[in-house]
Symmetry: D2
Subunit: 303 residues, 4 copies
């Protein structure tokens, strides 16, 4: 362990990860969270929020392509897209790759963070903030969803886990998802980044799938390993439609081409399908089901 | 970080993992390697070889089911199986679940380790060592393969990575795999545990696939996330036959039933297929290809 | 940081020490505390109690010679000595070096620990337990002091810090020290190992000195750096007599010779005097004084 | 261990210290060394050079008062003082407290570091750089000593340990000390900060004392515990005069008063004397003696 700065991140009280920090770019508090941006050995430029690795140069594409292209390709013609959270701008970047998109609205509560990311993580947004189709609204995602009259074809929940004191506490509840559903157009698709998918800890994901299943006719969990999280990561797809079938790779290939989606680093049509396959221990736990998360009893993440 | 014992494992010089040790069961040297067996928080009973987590109670099934059932199901009627390495006995356990098996030979160089595992990790072998179909040979895998006249339907390479001073240095080379191929029956199948599959480090895997492709007509890499390795893990399937197609889930389901394979904790037919899907960065690197590993210039693992 | 076992010890929540463990000798619970005995790089054979380094082969002599010879040399003719705690037997070993001693009683609550130390740390006691002058009583130090009729010339408090749930909670209070004083003969001397003496944390010591000053006419704090504690360490001398002057080195030299005290690794007459010198920040804090510790409001150590 | 930034410092390969970093003030390279300035929990504002804790707000006074007042009080009338190294300006601050001083020259090779310290560690120099008696020369200490014609009453070597690639490699050799001696006035006094004094590692100190003893008629090692170094720290006093006796505390008290030395946080006349007392294991090793360090075979610090 070289002398000097390391970033420590615990996964439960019993596992510590230590990352070798090459250079601190920014370390401070916004109104909402503690932000560290650093150049980290192996990971490259990295963003940490409240002490948790959020995205890293080496593989932010894995997370963002998985979060975005699965729901975008589940909709026949996504024109209007809403992103909840997504401060780094990489979710927006992937959304805008689909040439069907006419309008992409991103609502993030932390304006200081968005500015920091524009400045220090420019390759994440890669010009997306300047795209005329983009609108960035600094404000509370819940308030926006409850007050807007607009309808969206795809809604992407790219929010941090619901920490006790964090800004996302009431953004993973039955009440909130009911409002979200009402903001989706007829064939609308929702995706929710859903935390850890691993064998030790997937309770939050099971609860989310249970909660969403009470509101949407079609709910499909999917997952992929993210190197910089040291974990298998969970996502949940929810559709207003009852009809859902995973398209075959050649169809996906054609669709990507038609929409002009390029510069993919992780996503392949084969991986698209593969991510919906579940290990037995997850299948079993999804069958048992979890708890419906409500405003009164939300999930509190304590990792 | 609680006061007391922790196990430290580095992944390159720049990332440290620290695990909270509840109880040391064994810590010492055999003739070939340093062995630590401990009860570790979150992971349960855990085996470390030369300072690297080898298998943990919480998810040893993920690794062992993946290593075994993919090749076993790629063979129409596996009667004779050879395991190279596999000291814990869990690979043997999974092999014996297939009722087609008439003889399973395991060759491990470290007899002291095998005895330690029998005593301290009994749930790994779960009686497999006492099965009349099993034979355990303490000796060098290379020597055994080169000297035996026997032929096998499935050969499973469950060997530790080729560390500079470790016992597996010459067990991942063109010369060795040529001998291995000659010990396979006509429809014979080889599987090789192939180290890390992740975005940062998969050079060893690419070299292995390149090396095996010069010897076998069909070579297929597959991979899955293993929680206790903190990594996506690589495997390589190699067949003497040119005909290979991944079977559909219902066929796999039926095959498992016919062979009486039970008590699976991770494997599902859907995961079987999913594990062959590759991220773009891996596809690209496999297309470029790697180096042919030879006795003269073997791969030296330095993580 | 090498792969493998390390012992982690925190000093406050903000400083972590990690020690490279070569071999675990014992790790388990007695009725009273968690005990780890290990061979540690640099430190040699080492005893940890409840996660804190207690004594290490490399410098246990520093602590034990300092704890014992200062009070023993402050008494003109120590015949009967009482040790409270002292499980390892090294305090007893140093006491018995003085040929004036006719009887040395050691009262330790943890009989299992005493047996473990005899077996695994034999060089600590170095035969002291077999000396006909020694008597070891397994029991509560407070109960012993309150119930015995015996008087002692020197009483040595070699007790662990008063952790919330630990066995030493009520062994650092006014009530207890009053009983202790009543068990001292006319020129009797008490010494108390008093925890950390360093600039960041010496509150316990200041409170102890204040508490003892209400009971004994002469109270003198002294201190020395202990390598294996990574800290300056505090001791407090308390005398029934009002007359006290530090003897000059030649006098000490002569006294050691007369009493046959040999095999010293740390102690010198010059260090004897030096340990009573105090940095300004300590002098200032002792002048201000602390809190009188009582059974009702004892000191709770939370490091 | 809280999530977030920690500073890791090893003491040999077998002991790691980790410090909880509250805020990074500066982290970068000068021409000569890696500099980190941070607010560290417990320690306050802290300077690290090449990964080693150099001085910390909580106790920089311990080191600097010990380094400066011992030699200054060993000279009857110090008017001209030379500081080698001393980038933070705290050594200069303590020197200027003596109203006898007419001129204080500080020679530090690292001008960028001096500027950083002025800006980010202003309480270290506390105005010393603006004192009309001060002159700061950015340059090589050896070159300065060898080229100047000036004579000094006190010379203070406040240099970092001689790392393989560091700037101090040839500043601890017989050749250099011979030049230093020639720059001292008749009753001149040299002091050398001499690294670790602890039981495990004091070889550098023993070699230094041996080297200086070949050049100066009077050489006296002294030491004190420095909390932020986690170590007992070594200093060596060397005088051109053969007559040397440690003054008694009342004499020192008077001298401090006469010279107007104030605002001391650590130093007391009693500590002055105490620091010259040596544990037996050090006495024994000084008697055996060490190696004479030369330009050809200097000491290379590899901690």
């Amino acid at each position: 362990m070289k002398d000097g700065l390391w970033f420590s991140e615990k996964f439960t009280d019993h596992i510590e990860f230590l990352y070798d920090v090459r250079r601190i770019i920014y370390d401070g508090h916004t109104e909402f969270q503690h932000v560290t941006i650093a150049d980290v050995m192996v990971y490259g430029r990295t963003l940490f929020l409240d002490g948790k690795m959020q995205s890293a140069e080496i593989d932010e594409a894995v997370y963002h392509e998985t979060l975005v292209h699965i729901p975008m390709l589940a909709h026949p013609d996504p024109r209007k897209v809403l992103i909840l959270g997504g401060g780094e701008g990489a979710t927006l970047r992937e959304v805008l790759k689909h040439n069907t998109v006419e309008r992409a609205v991103m609502v993030d509560i932390d304006g200081e963070l968005v500015e920091l990311c524009k400045k220090e993580l420019p390759q994440w947004s890669d010009g997306a903030f300047d795209d005329p189709r983009s609108e960035v609204i600094i404000g509370d995602a819940r308030k926006f969803v409850e007050e807007t009259d607009e309808k969206f074809d795809v809604i992407i929940s790219d929010l941090t886990e619901p920490l006790e004191e964090g800004p996302s506490r009431l953004l993973f509840t039955k009440e909130f998802y009911t409002s979200v559903r009402d903001r989706l157009s007829d064939n609308g698709v929702l995706v929710v980044q859903s935390g850890s998918a691993d064998i030790y800890y997937h309770e939050f994901w099971v609860d989310l799938v249970t909660t969403l299943s009470g509101i949407f006719p079609t709910v499909r969990p999917y997952h992929t390993y993210v190197f910089s999280f040291n974990l298998d990561w969970a996502f949940t797809l929810a559709l207003k439609s009852e009809d859902f079938e995973l398209p075959e790779p050649p169809v996906l290939e054609q669709l990507l081409k038609a929409r002009g989606v390029e510069k993919l680093r992780f996503y392949t049509p084969e991986m698209h399908l593969a991510m919906f396959a579940l290990p037995r221990y997850l299948k079993d736990d999804f069958e048992k089901g979890g708890r419906v998360l409500t405003d009164e009893e939300p999930f509190i993440w304590d990792a």
